[in-house]
Amino acid sequence: MADKVSHAQNTQSSRSFFVAIAITTAVAFLFPFFVGDYYAYQATIIINLMIALLGLNLLTGYNGQVSLGHGAFLALGGYMMTILSVHSGLPYWLILPLAAVAGLVVGMLFGFPALRLQASYLALATLALAMAVPQLLKHGSIESWTGGVQGLQMERSPAPFGISDDKWFYLLSLSIGIISYIVARNLTRNRIGRALSAIRDNPIAAASMGVDISRYKIITFGISAMFAALSGALAALASQFTAPDSYSLGLSILLYVGIIVGGLGVLPGAIIGAIFLHFVPHLADAITKGAPGAIFGALMIASVFFFPRGLAGVFAKLLAVGRSKNIKEP
């Protein structure tokens, strides 16, 4: 009996869940037509950040591999976008999947040595990657390709259907963002997701249950890097510019901050983390010009202190409270 009730409850709540999703999606798609181009551009940045955080959350939140170097994969995607469009003239819609594949391959290659490293050592190795990439990008031998320290500008074909570029690239990012979210959601909800969490929680137990740890870890690294590269490519496309200083060590650390603040191992955490990363620095800058970094740090610590499960955890809790209320009602 109790089972039946909760089943009915579930179908009802999942129905209302889908209605809510449908409305949110519709609003998201129509949003740029009601606001100025600048806000569409800002939203594009947030979506691109979210895609990167999704990937990092899969890796760190679900699989327990700490990466402090995801900025490097963003740089990979960003530079593929600008270099290929400047030097080979490929259209951007072709470069986007290429960047994703490149991210997957490079990520998997990095996943091999990562296998041998325990958590804190992996964090150091990825940190080294993040430190090296901006300098490598400035290196003289590839300057004719990368534009060196001054960066590289790209042209892109104008938006179709007579809408503005900013709106068009927002819609493109939004579509790719939604697909990425669904992919990540499906990954975490089936056998693979359970294997990933098992590896995170107890690798020995996972191995004895027949989970191929190496394979899963490498694949996760690849997919995570793929999301990051895609995010980097979309961001470069939106701003039509890449430069080494856009991918500083700070960016990699901030991405990590984003998933912790948003919520480790909870996918909506990526959305909340992206919003946090985008708006809190603006807020800090508005509060003081003297030490915006200190304000940002304080807000970061406050959010971790008050919401240890991440801001997404707060929303989950609110939802859960709502549900239990529903059940109690006669």
Binding site: G36, Y38, I45, Q135, V149, Q240, S246, G250, D285
Partner: protein, 398 residues
């Protein structure tokens, strides 16, 4: 006395009549935008933005520019080009700025150059030393400080004037700064550059020391040593050159002329005799601000700082530099009259002819429709063991 008063009254009446008649367009606010690294790797430059905020406040307190008040919006870009794109768009599309003034950095400003030119928003007095500012393809962008090409052109003139048979050794940082300095020097020395430059050595900004590079260069038996390095390495090289017993004509890039940051670190005695080219007067005065009061131009700056930006460090060259930038901006707005259209702002920014007290005597901030580089002159200076002193005549870029 009475006559004067009367004249003021009449003047005030005329001004207010004019203001009334053109109120719809005339009394509008001037909105100035800026991106600045308040956070991140380059936050030592953030004092520029704070000084500018204080400067425009001061202008407003004194009645504004031709009756127009200024609204100054300076946003943090964390020295990231990606962030500066976003913040610049916010300034243009959300804050509706009339112009961007003194944005900081090279990549951060190149990232938005095309955007601003497409939108026809003046990008004025960019704080960047590369020669890209002045490119006729981007008529709404203009730099200010002497770029690396201008500085090296002046170095070349100093060498050719003072050394009979120059054999030049160059130490440079392996990045856009160092490489553009070396290329500029080579170009300025002309056809015989390859004969004159007998040795070059570069270092990475991550290297611990430049000791090996200096010893290598010493072996070339050069009589001129170009020290194109950033402060920490410049100090090391000064010490290494002196300790190795090598006594060339030692020329330092302006980036590293700070007495406290570089010369004290190297040792004042070992720094004695160094040569540099400078446009900023403060670099040639010691650390004692009281000495500065003897100089009319500097004392104006010191008084202004104490009254309007007391939290700013007076001997920080960023501040005297920022003050000169603000003066230039102020002058452009005054010249604009009441027409703050992008084209008029650019026209005025390209017809400057002014002197600024914190700059070396004789230096003129000058532009023309076909000459987009505001500061093209520098004064050779020599370090006497205590202070930088002017050394010979002012040079202009050729």
């Amino acid at each position: 006395m009475r006559k004067n008063k009367l004249r003021h009254l009449v003047g005030a009446a005329v001004v207010s009549a004019l203001a009334l008649s053109s109120q719809s367009v005339g009394a509008r606010e001037i909105v100035i935008g800026q991106t600045m690294p308040y956070s991140g790797n380059a936050s030592m430059a953030a004092t520029l933005g704070k000084l500018h905020a204080a400067y425009f406040n001061w202008v407003n307190k004194n009645g504004g520019v031709n009756g127009h008040k200024i609204r100054f919006v300076s946003l943090d870009d964390g020295f990231s080009p990606a962030k500066s794109v976003e913040q610049t768009r916010r300034l243009v599309e959300s804050e509706k700025v009339d112009l961007i003034f003194s944005p900081y950095g090279t990549a951060t400003t190149l990232a938005v150059r095309r955007y601003l030119n497409t939108k026809k928003i003046p990008q004025l007095f960019v704080v960047s030393g590369v020669s890209a500012w002045g490119d006729p393809k981007f008529p709404y962008s203009i730099g200010w400080m002497p770029n690396y090409v201008i500085e090296t052109s002046i170095h070349a003139q100093i060498i050719l004037k003072n050394v009979e048979k120059p054999r030049i050794a160059v130490l440079y940082q392996n990045d856009d700064f160092g490489k553009e300095m070396l290329a500029g020097l080579r170009k300025s020395l002309g056809a015989k550059a390859d004969e004159m430059i007998v040795a070059t050595a570069s270092y990475e900004s991550t290297d611990p020391t430049v000791n090996n590079q200096v010893l290598l260069l010493k072996q070339s038996d050069a009589n001129v040593f170009m020290n194109y390095s950033f402060p920490r390495f410049a100090a090391q090289a000064i010490r290494n050159v002196y300790d190795s017993g090598w006594r060339p004509l030692h020329i330092l890039s302006q980036t590293s002329t700070s007495v406290s940051q570089v010369l004290v670190q190297a040792g004042l005695e070992k720094s004695s005799g160094l040569i540099a080219a400078s446009y900023n007067k403060t670099g040639s005065f010691g650390k004692n601000v009281d000495d500065w009061k003897s100089d009319e131009g500097l004392s104006e700056y010191v008084t202004w700082m104490k009254e309007n930006y007391p939290e700013g460090d007076i001997i920080d060259t960023f501040n005297s530099f920022g003050y000169a930038l603000a003066k230039t901006m102020h002058q452009v707005l005054i010249q604009c009259g009441s027409d703050f259209s992008a084209d008029n702002i650019m026209k005025q920014a390209r017809s400057l002819n002014m002197k600024i007290g914190v700059m070396m005597p004789g230096i003129v901030v000058q532009t023309a429709s076909d000459q987009p580089y505001p500061v093209r002159q520098m004064q050779p200076i020599k370090f006497d063991g205590e202070n930088w002193k002017p050394w010979g005549d002012l040079f202009g870029a050729r």
